[in-house]
Symmetry: C2
């Protein structure tokens, strides 16, 4: 790291680590309000059908029950464009919300929920993309003509011409199966709507503003009349960004009962309401020249979005964009379609939909490289983007460390010694990825604002609306403020998690944290610095511009012996006749109308060993190189790399929801297979710093980029080990064993 920085680049422990380690961090379920009730939702137990009758009379008579609600109490509230808050005449999946109760304790609420009798007339259900897109399939939503919920068509360059000019054209189809995010914290909410003026809700989330807007819009009140308190959030992965039925149900129960109401999902409910990954079918067709130049890509993408649409369009948007942003092509065409079924509503698993698509893309390119007899690393390097280049969708790379990542990962992992030279059932694979930093497009603006105040003893409170879901973003913000003001991150208390208090921030998604909020924090810190510099300048008799702020001291440039302590300057600023209290403010909205101004890049190399008897894959080592622009906190960067390898290996090797008749069969953390700690591989971290001109101190994202790289790396390594390129995700022992058998049959 450069000596230019005194805080940035140092390994900073998360500021809330002591609280987390001693169990003192508070989560939604830790909040207890006087008079609080417990809510329970009654859900459909059939995937599709008519509601004939709902009998709540017994539940209402149960002692301790304070409120029962059904559709007629919901005031017609909708969740998203096509979902009733509580079903009126139809249910669309197993788990659809039909009624809810609030009672003095959880047991009573459960008992009351059991007493609500719902009569259904079952109807034929469509439980897969294939069924739903069959020509004679019944139409699931009466106001549509087919079961396609949404689509996206992208077309750049002359695709047909590019194919006709290609020396080699190849088409492959890839399928990935439903999976689940398995958040550390279950979905839950505590809502207090007992007074008419204001609804307050506590709920884990990654964007309080979007939850606030969603609640307000659905309930028909002004945004500021909803106060969202965030506390800690046990994982988010894009799945905690919008209002879900349980939020609104808790609010309505609270209003009806005039008491606060808490609803926490049970483990099996969690699998229904989480909205994680649905089934994907991605067909990729590409053309290359004989010398390995990629010319054209065409992608057809079908995605099971489940019973309701909400924000699922983000999935094709991301997939469609990224497929043409990693390697240079002349032409590109993408058709993405969301398909309604009677499965639980899906969104995507951790990785923004990139795990299935990058798995497919990577395997497809691996097959092409094999067709051409090229080393996959050479093939990637030949086609990779460089700094200063612009993609087909007009994305300009002001910084780009893609080739550096590929080269460093290859060198560090000993790729040349290993690829093609490993013993049977050992394999190596490489994956690359690109990810926007500070993604835009949520509103007309995508602003992050920051505010700070400095106490008389030089300690700082930093206000941000950016949530920390465990990724350490608050510590990163503290480092940026500390670097700017020449103090330590430990001098800073981060204030967040309450929409009444926190400055505006669109939230922690689209890799906005370090980039967008980080820029706002830097601006607010510079604003405060100016106020401090005024005092220091007077005391030291030099111009503000020639002051150095470093190591809790302020001194004239080149004269550290004349240093006065930061604390003293702050004290003197307050203790003057004006009583100047230091408050810094700043906001940042990435100055572009495009999706982002900065992009992170990465390359990862996986090494595996496959047991040919069982099909079990052992992930031996991951070499993770990522262009983060600037590592604000290398410890956190490595933590992100580790976490994303963990999640990526889970999605690539293990995680799958087994479906039968619309029912998830393995809806518990015992039955649903996640990586265990002993399965985590040896990790090699390579941080590439390209100093992005737009990022705060050059920083870009690392919060989601690495997971765009590892599914392909792992899948390629497994394919390399068994000599058969796999096309279905996850690579469970069953599928690997089947592939080994196919391979043996072929060869």
């Amino acid at each position: 790291m450069s000596d230019k920085f005194s805080v940035i680049g140092k390994r900073q422990t998360k500021l809330d680590a002591p609280l987390k380690a001693t169990g003192r961090s508070q989560f939604t379920d830790d909040v207890v309000l006087p008079g609080m009730l417990h809510g329970k939702i009654v859900r459909s137990n059939i995937p599709r059908g008519k509601i004939l009758n709902i009998d709540t009379s017994k539940a209402e008579k149960l002692p301790g029950v304070m409120a029962v609600i059904t559709h007629k109490d919901s005031g017609g509230v909708m969740v998203g464009p096509d979902q009733q808050l509580l079903c009126d005449d139809m249910v669309h999946y197993i788990g659809d919300e039909v009624a809810a109760v609030a009672a003095v304790d959880g047991d009573t609420a459960y008992e009351a929920a059991e007493l609500i009798k719902v009569e259904y007339e079952p109807m034929p259900a469509l439980l897969s993309i294939e069924e739903a897109t069959a020509p004679d399939a019944p139409i699931l939503k009466q106001y549509y003509e087919d079961n396609y919920a949404d689509d996206l068509n992208l077309n750049y360059g002359d695709v047909d011409k590019a194919f006709s000019e290609s020396d080699h054209v190849r088409e492959d189809e890839f399928i990935s199966y439903p999976s689940h995010n398995c958040f550390a914290e279950l979905h839950g909410v505590l809502a207090d709507y007992s007074l008419p003026g204001k609804l307050t809700i506590w709920t884990p989330n990654q964007t309080a503003i979007l939850i606030q807007k969603g609640m307000a819009r659905n309930l028909g009140i002004s945004e500021s009349n909803v106060r969202v308190c965030s506390l800690n959030t046990g994982g988010a992965f894009s799945g905690r960004g919008t209002v879900r039925p349980h939020h609104l149900i808790a609010a309505l129960l609270s209003k009806k009962a005039s008491r606060p109401v808490k609803i926490i999902a049970t483990s099996d409910e969690e699998f229904i309401i989480c909205r994680s990954g649905g089934k994907n079918r991605l067909t990729l067709k590409s053309g290359v020249t004989n010398n390995g130049t990629l010319k054209v890509i065409k992608a057809d993408h079908l995605y099971d979005c489940g019973a309701y649409v909400e924000t699922q369009f983000i999935m094709p948007t991301i997939v469609g964009a990224t497929l043409q942003m990693l390697f240079k092509v002349e032409a590109f065409r993408y058709k993405g379609q969301l398909v309604y079924t009677n499965n639980a509503p899906y969104f995507f698993h951790h990785g923004g939909g990139l795990v299935p698509s990058q798995f497919a893309f990577g395997q497809h390119l691996y097959l092409i490289a094999q067709d051409l007899g090229m080393d996959p690393v050479d093939f990637k390097l030949k086609n990779a983007f460089d700094k200063g280049e612009t993609t087909l969708n007009d994305t300009h790379y002001a910084s780009c460390g893609l080739k550096e990542c590929i080269k460093k990962a290859a060198r560090k992992s000993g790729w040349n010694r290993k690829y093609g030279k490993l013993p049977p059932y050992k394999g190596i694979g490489i994956g690359c990825g690109v990810m926007s930093s500070g993604g835009k497009g949520m509103f007309q603006h995508d602003t992050s604002a920051a505010f700070l105040k400095i106490a008389e003893d030089g300690k700082l409170s930093l206000f941000t609306g950016l949530p920390d879901m465990g990724q350490g973003s608050h510590t990163t913000m503290a480092i940026i403020a500390a670097e700017t003001l020449g103090i330590a991150a430990d001098d800073i208390t981060v204030i967040s998690g309450d929409t009444d208090i926190a400055p505006y921030d669109v939230g922690a998604f689209a890799q906005r944290g370090t980039f967008t909020t980080g820029n706002a924090v830097k601006i607010a810190s510079l604003d405060a610095k100016k106020q401090i510099a005024k005092t220091a300048s007077e005391k030291l008799g030099v111009k503000p511009a020639s002051l150095i702020f470093r190591d809790r001291k302020v001194y004239p440039k080149g004269a550290p012996d004349k240093a006065i302590s930061f604390e003293d300057v702050v004290f003197d600023t307050l203790n003057c006749m004006e009583g100047r209290f230091i408050m810094g403010r700043g906001f940042y909205n990435t100055p572009t109308t495009k999706a982002a101004l900065a992009y992170s890049f990465g390359a990862q190399i996986a090494e595996v060993e496959v047991d040919p008897e069982t099909g079990i894959v052992k992930l031996l080592k991951m070499t993770v190189a990522h262009d983060v622009g600037r590592a604000i906190n290398p410890l956190a960067v490595e933590g992100q790399m580790d976490g994303q390898v963990f999640s990526g290996m889970g999605q690539t090797l293990f995680e799958e929801c087994f479906m039968e008749g619309g029912q998830i069969l393995n809806q518990s953390r015992i039955d649903y297979k996640l990586p265990r700690p002993y399965e985590v591989p040896e990790m090699e971290h390579i941080i590439v710093e390209t100093n992005d001109p737009y990022g705060p101190y050059g920083a870009k994202e690392v919060g989601e980029g690495p997971i765009a790289c590892n599914p392909h790396a792992i899948a390629m390594a497994v394919s390399n080990a068994i000599g058969y390129t796999m096309k279905e995700l996850p690579l469970t022992p069953e599928r690997v064993l089947q592939a080994i058998r196919k391979k043996n049959r072929i060869s």
Copy 2:
């Protein structure tokens, strides 16, 4: 009220009224933390003596006890200059803290406290000013030469010359007896010092900053490592401004047990730890000319400060200042002395020590007026200060409505028809007062800072460190912001009560709220207004300076038909390419090195009826006139007038702690006599507005001024009714009956 304002001058209900009315406001005792323990303090049961032994062994063995502390665990922590946190070798009053326990529940804590056995060797105790100042009295504090804890001597002009030039000189001695504030909320604290980095305490207070500084200083940690959470405060009256032993004891217990610890005073403890009014002895000697011109005042003041000194010097400071600030004199001398005794430490009751001194001063002047045969109203008008005049202690009155208050109160009450013309045992009396607004002198600065943010829907969060102890100060701050920005007070959420979050504010004492914090809020609002005006100016095509902000609209001056809504302008400000999020900031430190820049004045007229058989006084009517500069919220101004009549009549007529051997005999709310609602008189409110040049929108204080007026008015009325001028406070039925008998003996 002037049409100049759209929000100021309207009767605004307190913003938190619905919360208060429905019992949803949270106080310290409402906070429950996971793993929280309950603390109990072991107190001395003798007024003075040596500690021979403390046996905590049985308490420590009691199941459920998590921590026991005595002096040896306190690390030598002091509370104030002469008080050990927990007594080591000596106890100095009944209630002195000796040991403390923390246990899993309150019952266990109480049981454990009972099991702690303390052996004392009693020593002679001094239980009155008279005993303590006797020549042969034992010295209570070994490091002093006598029992005077502190003194204040003021001398302006040539007092001897002025007396020699006076036509008439009179001297009287007045005594007031100990009393108690009877806060609506008992003293209490919840401390979490279970992690080393930060101590968090919840406690009712009127200045979080001073509590924070006090805790930090006593515990030897940096200020920002103490987070003070204030929530609501059930009354303060200058008694909640400093750290008390229970705060530190809870922190030490929490540290030792590694768990949060709550201590809430019992009703009898409350009377010991409250530090309200001690016994006063005030001798006043004044000289006048025959035509009623006051020439000189000399005051000798003895005050029982109890066993320990802390901030009691404020009492003589206030009394010494105010005695020469109401009426013009040529010369003034004041000698105030605090006297140590073995009573519980005293401070003062509601009114900043002015109830006893203004009672004395008023009765003294009443006697002089009677000596001269003058009407007391005429006598007061003749000597009262005017706007533009300067007092002997160099206080300049930039605004002064004293004479207007006297005249209006006299006219409205029908003084001329009544004084001297009432039937026997009916009486009328007038009292006047002066009070600083935005008092200074706490630090080198006395800054209030304010911050605000405006949400996309035009609703505002206003951050202030000023506590609201029930007086409605947060509503007042909201009105000032609303007026400045042309919105409604209801559009504003006030954020306060947490030192990590709130901007710096010295606190709610010295009548700083409306004046000092109000100025800061106005400055912060103007700062935000400028940001909004930028957008509005662009949209309306006029200069920012010619924009009017009113009624949630912005329009060019004189063209309200061109108005755009405030909400739309705010929305457009955020929804631009810069994403400008509106944040306003401001701070204000009254620009003077004197005690204050503004003063409020008042006059009150009391009408009473005395039952000659019982001595019971019925307060029939109070006519309250007060120069508040500008009534920001007339409803709150009247509320302050009412509350201060309630408190003043209590102190004047009823409230007294009966002492015996250092023990308070009536230490419960059943035995201690407060006014009952049916005893509150008919009220006439007269708001005088003098538009102070320094106050925000011309406003001055009304939070403590009125109580400086009513003790004298009531006491004069009683004296007028019975024809005997009383000199001891309170005017209990016993004392009134005694006076009637004396009067009958004399006449």
